[in-house]
Amino acid sequence: MSYSVTESSSRQKWIAGTLVILYAVITLVPLGWIMITGFKTPPDSISYPPKVFFEPSVEGYVNLFTTRTRVSKETLESLPPPTNFAEEIVRNREMVIAGPSKFGQRFMNSVIIGFGSTFLSVFLGTLAAYAFSRFKIPLADDLLFFILSTRMMPPIAVAIPIFLMYRNLGLSDTHLGMILLYTAVNISLAVWLLKGFIDEIPREYEDAALIDGYTRFQAFYKVVLPQAATGIASTAIFCLIFSWNEYAFAVLLTSGTAQTAPPFIPTIIGVGGLDWPAVAAGATLFLIPVMIFTIMLRKHLLRGITFGAVRK
């Protein structure tokens, strides 16, 4: 490991620190605002001037996970006392809980499709990148360019053909269809990123493993894969972020069984007025899996994006 030669002065450190904090504040304010809005009551969420201090409430979360019916005062009074806190909150608004909302199911769809396509992209990407990196493949450069060409226009530009194709193939609104679609978009990124990482791993390690009595495939998974862990982790994060956040295709191709969370969250707005706390609660919960995944792989990600910048 080599380090920069000049030690930065305390003044420079101070300035750099201030800039980083400033940047962090600017980017985190909207996120923070979404998170606190999730704990406001609907009147608080639309009050003017905006409230920074308020009495926290879980009404947003209750509304997110339930569907509710408005009832008359008489009916409300004739009901037995509420059995849990959710029922109590809802009744204060002169409503009763009619049943669970579809958020949980949509969220699971996001998890299945997001992680499924990430796994598939990274799995196929690693194999392809290894082949491109290690074997003499005829027209390898052209093939790599061809793979990248899927990224040369916004994927949504081909939305109509995909929509028609999916309808004919029966892939519309299926988990498999969405996993395949996101994999197709992600795989070019995966192949290119991973090829860079695998190119950096000296071939001598595999040669050594071959000499030590292992097969080519054993050498690949026992020696190359552990070395490529950093690259695989950062590629996985990029793939997951894309497929997790994808909105346009999800709106177009899913409506029921395979609908993911992004197109679902805005539909909450329409239920009983502008329910911003419920939307904010949904957005907050939606952030959490990517956050956990990124934090888990953070060490690799940092090494990944600075890869090649420093000589080992």
Partner: protein
């Protein structure tokens, strides 16, 4: 341990030929050097013996068995890489035992074997360290341990000292040689350093441009080079080439350079054209009455000897003389060449002309 026979081995990478029909034999227990400039095909040859490349044509016999198309795992050959190639995600012990694990050896046997080998190489105390923080010499020892732990039929070494600093190289090359003498293992060693090859090798193959130029014992290669390339590549400073036009006939024992008759070993071949008079720097001495004369251009002091550069009628020349002799730049001196050591070359083909000195060597190859 085993004898290795290479027969008409060839390797093409597309249009590029890395090794052209090469043949030589490595005897059981020999320390065998593959020497040549970078890109000459020596590493490709080594990799073909080990199975990391498959030859385009030709045969490789290990212990009498033809193995040229077998995967490396079925050859029982160990390899020491230039950059050592220690698995970075494993500690020293795991690196050393890795080849044994692949053979499915019992745990207790593995442990005993690793202990034995690490004892030989003096690395017992670093067995549980990660490979990352090791010094160059220790990495080298671990790489050697990984190679010898499975008692292979032969060792391949690809410039194993190339990654070490000069001071340590000397030490390590001695250690290697001692290790070899103790194990008596057939070893094929690739290097571009002619000094290393001369110091360590029992036999040397000199390669250039994908062909084997010469194959023999170090002294033979030094004294009786069969091509101008070998004469130039081996020795420092290399052999002097004095170019002249003329001819030799069977039975001649002198040639005429710029009107001066110079004695040479008895010639056994008739040849005409552009010829080259090859003489090693240490076979030149100065005499006041010599008729072949040169002008001293530079003197380089090297301790016990000095290198004197001279201008002669047939080109520049370097002589290695005892330091005690006083020589000044600008002196005109008479030159005396030790006749028994002279090799004549045919300039166009670059090959040595057959004489009594080298007839035996030329006959082999």
């Amino acid at each position: 341990m085993a004898q290795i026979i290479i027969k008409n081995l060839r390797k093409d990478f597309g249009d590029f030929t890395a090794v052209k029909e090469s043949s030589f034999t490595i005897e059981d227990g020999e320390f065998f050097m593959l020497l040549g400039p970078s890109g000459c095909g020596k590493t490709t040859t080594l990799r073909m013996i080990a199975g990391l490349e498959l030859p385009t044509s030709g045969e490789i016999y290990l212990d009498g068995e033809e193995i040229s198309q077998r995967p490396p795992s079925q050859r029982d050959i160990a390899f020491v890489f230039q950059m050592f190639a220690l698995y970075p995600h494993m500690n020293v012990r795991k690196n050393i035992q890795y080849p044994l694990v692949s053979q499915g050896m019992q745990r207790a046997d593995i442990k005993a074997k690793v202990a034995e080998v690490s004892n030989i190489l003096g690395i017992t105390d670093i067995l549980d360290r990660p490979t990352g923080g090791l010094s160059g010499g220790d990495r080298q020892r671990v790489a050697l341990a990984r190679a010898i732990v499975r008692d292979p039929k032969a060792f391949m070494m690809d410039e194993p000292l190339g990654a070490l600093d000069a001071e340590f190289r000397e030490h390590m090359s001695e250690e290697l040689r001692v290790l070899h003498d103790r194990m008596k293992a057939t070893t094929v060693y690739v290097t571009h350093d002619q000094l290393e090859a001369m110091q360590m090798g029992d036999k040397i193959v000199v390669m250039n441009n994908a062909v084997v130029e010469q194959f023999g014992e170090p002294q033979e290669i030094y004294d009786k080079p069969v091509t101008m390339f070998v004469a130039d590549f081996i020795g420092s400073p290399s052999m002097n080439f004095l170019r002249f036009e003329g001819g030799v006939q069977k039975g001649d024992n002198s040639v005429t350079l710029s009107g001066v008759n110079l004695a040479v070993p008895k010639q056994l071949q008739d040849i005409q054209g552009d010829l080259v008079f090859g003489v090693r720097p240490e076979h030149i001495s100065f005499t006041d009455d010599g008729t072949y004369r040169g002008l001293v251009l530079a003197v380089e002091y090297l301790g016990t000897t000095q290198i004197v550069t001279l201008d002669t009628p047939n080109g520049d020349l370097k002589a290695r003389l005892n330091s005690s002799q006083v020589i000044n730049v600008g002196d005109r001196v008479g030159l005396n060449f030790n006749p028994a050591t002279i090799t004549l070359f045919h300039e166009q083909s670059g090959r040595a002309i057959v004489s009594e000195l080298n007839s035996g060597v030329l006959a082999n190859g």
